[in-house]
Symmetry: C2
Subunit: 429 residues, 2 copies
Amino acid sequence: MRTRPLKVALLGCGVVGSEVARIMTTHADDLAARIGAPVELAGVAVRRPGKVREGIDPSLVTTDATALVKRGDIDVVVEVIGGIEPARTLITTAFEHGASVVSANKALLAQDGAALHAAAERNGKDLYYEAAVAGAIPLIRPLRESLAGDKVNRVLGIVNGTTNFILDKMDSTGAGYQEALDEATALGYAEADPTADVEGFDAAAKAAILAGIAFHTRVRLDDVYREGMTEVTAADFRSAREMGCTIKLLAICERSKDGASVTARVHPAMIPLTHPLASVRGAYNAVFVESDAAGQLMFYGPGAGGSPTASAVLGDLVAVCRNRRGGATGPGESAYADLTVSPMGEVVTRYHISLDVADKPGVLAQVATVFAEHGVSIDTVRQQGKDGEASLVVVTHRASDASLSGTVEALRKLDTVRGVASIMRVEGE
Amino acid sequence: MRTRPLKVALLGCGVVGSEVARIMTTHADDLAARIGAPVELAGVAVRRPGKVREGIDPSLVTTDATALVKRGDIDVVVEVIGGIEPARTLITTAFEHGASVVSANKALLAQDGAALHAAAERNGKDLYYEAAVAGAIPLIRPLRESLAGDKVNRVLGIVNGTTNFILDKMDSTGAGYQEALDEATALGYAEADPTADVEGFDAAAKAAILAGIAFHTRVRLDDVYREGMTEVTAADFRSAREMGCTIKLLAICERSKDGASVTARVHPAMIPLTHPLASVRGAYNAVFVESDAAGQLMFYGPGAGGSPTASAVLGDLVAVCRNRRGGATGPGESAYADLTVSPMGEVVTRYHISLDVADKPGVLAQVATVFAEHGVSIDTVRQQGKDGEASLVVVTHRASDASLSGTVEALRKLDTVRGVASIMRVEGE
């Protein structure tokens, strides 16, 4: 007796979806062997039905995604449309009509993860989304399964390939932001409108998802502090080099020292050249995880692209199909710890501050007094002066973001401080 | 109504076992929340019952491991004894008496993985062993689940921390092998008898396990070519530097170009300094995976030690407990591809060969002729001579190991070749 095939509905057939369909076809025998039953592409929902899609039976193509997820005979819905709607409604409808779901939709998961997980659980179905964070890099599964017996304290990640490409280019060539962005655009690493990447929205969505899983706590997109990397200058890279550092756009999810609260944030930061994340080049992604028992782990690989993302989607598809055949479901949302998500002001880290100051006696004493009054302890100061102007580079010890903000506000009010050229957090030490 | 606790029997209470017991106690609430039911340490089998074991109820301690696994009320047996027997019999007995098994036993898995998987499947139980390869680094789960929809072509790993510590020390200080080994021993990174590590036995067991999972093919320990790193010299490191390389002891599992066969091997090799594995320092482990769709991935972290290994064991424990509550089992052995495991002679790679030769005209021509006769194409030659003696350093293009062996055998017969100083494979390009 032949085993009943598992039916898969594909929502979206762009860069990722077409690759998922291609691999499902070309590797059908392997997938069947690994699942224990064949998988069958039962329908493909697209926006433009007329487009020629190589290797996809035209009779499977439909523009009516809702009807497809409502068919009732679909085992797994693969959602690679992206965006909030109609993806959200389609996924919820899929659960209600008996399907499990594999999604690559970071924006949706970051915004409505809790509701989607609840819908999956209510209907006894799986929701898997390895592809939503860092493309092909196995990260969701290691965090929610491999480290399920450990206590994660920190996740530090380069989770956006576009910005890493730009920053790497600035670092290696001395180029400015605009020049590096132009090259990224020309090479296809940046979109025509790069806002989601360079302003950190994409990374913030991933940070929310990672923090939620790592800390067993719901972290909403609004909880994530976000600062883009468009203000990073060639001068910042020179300053970083002088400290033995480079600059990366990092997603940082941290548990507080007392363990009672967590924070999630995205911003450019200096990290030591000796840190494993410092050598992550080009459009690659990497995520560094620190936990009580395992210590320091790093996961590295391509964070985007059709094939890599399809690899993650198909890994989930195999898992969900296996679960379905075994009459089981995988791990659902784990938010039992329900820790407080603290605002940015409570984040404690070090800072690198460049000030333009008047080149006259007593300025350093004035500046140092302001830091002291706000409880921010100075690690090193470097003073450079010429022609009546000078710059002061201050690197602090660990202090709260609120204290640092207070310090900077007060510094701006000093007559002798002509401007705050840059403020950069120092991480990964 | 309180959920029935899951009962865990711990076999072995050494460095790893005691850490597993400690975390099970101190993180009991977290584990219960993540599993959905409490886990209870129901028995601990040890060799020396008199030893004081902090935090473990003495009434749980027994020397009769067989009786413990036969109790019938045990849900999961955690085996951290190591070695072949009695571990093998205890695991098999555990399956027969209704328990699933989490093991950290690389030697046993490499030698008898197929039989153990069969026993698990026969009894409808789980066999998990994340801790058997590369300690805390999630690797088994990503390979057998995250990449289940992809085609892995190559696994290149630093999977032994002791030898990486020694080689890193040689590289960074110019020390010889013995000096670096002595330091590793003094610091506790090498055992009193370092044979299993430095001769590559430990890495070979891990290579067999990784190759089996990566290629869905049974790879036995005997199938793995093994060459230790005791012959690596400070001169080899100098040669490596001249090529822009360093030297690592690598476990390499490869699919042949035509896809029909695979090889697994462990030996020291030169890799470019730009390769992500080159910067893996000290006793850390890292595994580089190349697959069709995902591309290049790397997993990095501590490869040994009580806490890191316990992290991996507990991740498996949580997964197995969840499966058990859901009435399901995780993925079992996947050996359906059943590819041919080819011998070392069929491996194709590049070679760096140092020859001591007579410093007279015509030697290079003679040597080059031997390479040509064996079909091994030369990439570069560097000749250095003084006082009637000279050295020739030859770097080849890709050639089969059999051709290279034939070449070296013929070179040794030349009157003008006084000795073959070293042969080192060049990987990761």
